[in-house]
């Protein structure tokens, strides 16, 4: 285990559109990083309808809500999964958490800053959409990962998120993860299309961080409420995620970023 003196790398995972496999990807990526002996904190940033706990069949004793709305100790909200992995579960079905006001957001900053000390990588899985809470997590994180699938709706929404984060929040560093990709040609075309639009209209140069192949094992694992990385470690999607984890690990290792 590497020394944990420096601040953790914060990575938000967002997509605009829902149903592009964002949460499943975040969960498996967290396990892959933990397998690499990185200390990982996975934060469920969907404050209204949390899903990370469901993906992992967790019954969390405490959630982000207990800290922000009930005034509980921030550290008690962490659910330890293993030596290297902890989850900060969100609240499910709590409308009060959907649009946290400015005061709640400043509490959230203090809260996350407090609990993430000692971790190497903090993955922030955001809700779908472009709400204030989604934008908050994306601007809180140092790195923004945009998950995009080959569907035109996903592509357009991913572009819209990039445009808002660049235009209204001054972000200019985006990393793309292509999900549900059938073959190399499809992945290349998807990346080039999004890159071309971002370059031409927004003067941005989004980087390709990784590609995850379409794999029926992913959906089976979601239904089994187990990460496919452990459920079927030999499946193609697991290999994709392990490769992606090395790229994310490199972000955390580089002290310049």
């Amino acid at each position: 285990m590497k020394p944990t003196g420096q601040a953790p790398a914060t990575v938000s995972i967002t997509s605009g559109k829902g149903g592009v496999g964002k949460t499943s990807l975040a969960v498996n990526l967290a396990f892959a990083l933990a397998d690499m002996h990185r200390k990982v904190l996975l934060v469920d940033g969907d404050l209204g309808l949390a899903n990370v706990d469901v993906m992992l069949r967790l019954k969390p004793a405490k959630t982000i809500e207990d800290v922000l709305l009930q005034g509980q100790d921030p550290h008690c909200a962490l659910t330890r999964i293993s030596d290297h992995l902890a989850v900060l579960p969100g609240s499910s079905g709590v409308p009060a958490m959907v649009a946290p006001g400015s005061e709640k957001r400043s509490q959230l900053t203090d809260f996350l800053t407090c609990v993430m000390a000692g971790f190497d990588v903090v993955l922030l899985d955001t809700a779908a959409g472009i709400g204030d809470d989604v934008m908050w997590f994306n601007t809180f994180a140092r790195h923004t990962v945009i998950v995009v699938s080959p569907e035109p709706t996903s592509l357009t929404d991913a572009y819209a998120v990039i445009k808002i984060l660049a235009g209204q929040y001054g972000r200019n560093d985006f990393k793309l993860v292509l999900n549900f990709i059938e073959n190399a040609e499809q992945g290349r075309a998807l990346f080039q299309t999004l890159h071309q639009a971002a370059q031409r209209f927004l003067n941005l140069d989004p980087k390709l961080l990784g590609t995850v192949v379409r794999d029926p094992k992913v959906n089976q694992a979601v239904i089994a409420q187990t990460p496919f990385l452990h459920n079927t470690p030999g499946c193609p999607a697991a290999a994709s995620v392990r490769q992606l984890a090395r790229a994310v690990g490199a972000l955390a290792a580089d002290p310049a970023v």
Partner: protein
């Protein structure tokens, strides 16, 4: 709710003349206190109440960050209306505007007569887009409701200026806030009357949506 209760006679005298006089004075005072805040002609609040209420709403914005809006309105060509139809008709027109508009605003809004044929309506907790919608509704509804006067139907229109006080704390005081709305009202008059003016630059530009040129590239996949 006004507290109209009076204290009982300390000597417990059921027929106390001091107590009777006191009760009478208290009732008169309450009446005057309320009247001192109401414009007798239109029933709207008066200038004095406008300043007090707007001060309170600006303080609320400072504490909560929630915007306060004001709509300032002036009846178009009112001097000519008075010259043509007489001052009694002018007063009826002011009353008619107030009556028409009262139905268009929320119970939390604070309608005030600023003076002459000018009105200021305070819209608590309202941002600029919301206030523009209210102003436009007031303008349109009045044009649809001409003043009926002795078989004649006299059309009325207004020019309106909208200003907001947000967490950016744009205005140092009530007077500056009102003056900002007045300047947009002036602009509405200059632009030909019967319209609403406001600070266009304060509206979020709709440029963040995905444009058709951007779609062309994205849909090329």
């Amino acid at each position: 709710m006004k507290n109209t209760q009076t204290a009982p006679c300390p000597l417990k005298d059921a027929d106390c003349p001091v107590q009777a006089a006191y009760t009478e004075l208290k009732a008169a005072y309450d009446l005057l206190e309320a009247a001192s805040r109401i414009d007798a002609l239109t029933g709207f609040f008066n200038y004095r109440h406008l300043l007090d209420a707007l001060n309170r709403e600006m303080e609320r914005t400072r504490r909560t960050g929630i915007a306060t809006a004001i709509v300032m309105a002036d009846i178009d060509h009112f001097k000519k209306f008075n010259d043509t139809h007489g001052h009694d008709a002018g007063n009826l027109a002011l009353q008619w505007v107030a009556r028409t508009w009262r139905e268009q605003i929320r119970s939390i809004d604070i309608p005030c007569r600023f003076g002459g044929e000018e009105f200021v309506i305070i819209l608590p907790g309202t941002d600029l887009p919301g206030a523009i919608q209210v102003a436009e509704r007031l303008r349109v509804e009045l044009t649809k409701a001409p003043l009926k006067l002795d078989d004649a139907s006299l059309p009325l229109s207004t020019s309106l200026g909208v200003a907001t006080y947000t967490q950016k704390l744009e205005w140092p005081c009530v007077e500056a806030f009102i003056k900002a709305a007045d300047q947009y009202l002036y602009q509405a008059k200059e632009n030909g009357r019967n319209q609403t003016c406001y600070d266009q630059s304060k509206l979020t530009p709709p440029a963040t949506g995905v444009t058709s040129e951007e779609r062309d590239v994205l849909f090329s996949l």
